[in-house]
């Protein structure tokens, strides 16, 4: 059987490197809750395409810089 493919991200690193936004500020800008940003940064939630695009636009990074596929054994 093939490996399960999961979407991972390095949102926390990109957020800190490319902006001074707090989790709450980023959440307010992209119109979601702080809990969603927390879940994203802990790799416990896969965002919708719209949310991923909004986050990448706000942080000034390409989507694939923040979100990427990761194989799970």
């Amino acid at each position: 059987m093939g490996n399960e493919i999961k979407i991972a991200n390095n949102l926390r690193q990109v957020r800190r490197a490319k902006s001074n936004y707090t989790q709450q500020e980023l959440a307010d800008i992209v119109d979601c809750t702080r809990q969603t940003i927390i879940a994203l940064e802990q790799n416990k939630y896969n965002p919708s395409l719209a949310l991923a695009l909004k986050i990448s636009r706000v942080l000034g990074a390409k989507v694939e810089e923040i979100f990427f596929l990761s194989d799970v054994e």
Partner: protein
């Protein structure tokens, strides 16, 4: 802990109490067999369910009020829809199993006490609310919130 998580906990605890009360009332002797004569038990059940729905209404009003700063986003909607889907699946199985058990039990008698129909009706409502709350809590817990 988020406000939505707290609302879910209150909802789940309340409907858990309703489910326990329902179980106690229906496990008392003669509740099923003489349902029509059980005015006190009927009123007690009505009070229990009124309490459950009143709690939900208060929580809904609290959530709707802008001063409390509630916000639901795509993650909340996903958690809720998964909870509803899982509860729906379990309830279908529950109703099927209870119906088959009752049919088997009363097949030879030809008649079934009407109390069982009320039990299915009440327990389905209580179980729906309880299961949705429990699965939503599990969904939020999985995300570490």
């Amino acid at each position: 802990m988020s406000k939505l998580m707290k609302v879910n906990i209150i909802h789940t605890v309340m409907w858990g109490m309703v489910a326990v009360g329902l179980g106690v009332i229906f496990s008392l002797s003669n509740t099923i067999s003489s349902w029509g004569d059980n005015r006190t038990k009927t009123v007690l059940l009505a009070i229990l369910f009124f309490g459950g729905f009143l709690t939900d209404f208060i929580l809904w009003q609290y959530e709707k009020s802008k001063k409390h700063g509630f916000r639901r986003d795509e993650r909340d909607k996903k958690v809720q829809s998964e909870a509803v889907f899982k509860s729906f699946t379990i309830l279908i199985i529950y109703i099927f199993v209870v119906s088959v058990v009752l049919y088997t039990k009363y097949e030879n008698a030809g008649v079934m006490p009407v109390g069982w129909v009320w039990f299915i009706a009440y327990s389905t409502i209580a179980a729906t609310n309880l299961l949705v709350g429990v699965f939503a809590l599990i969904g939020y817990k999985k995300q570490g919130l």
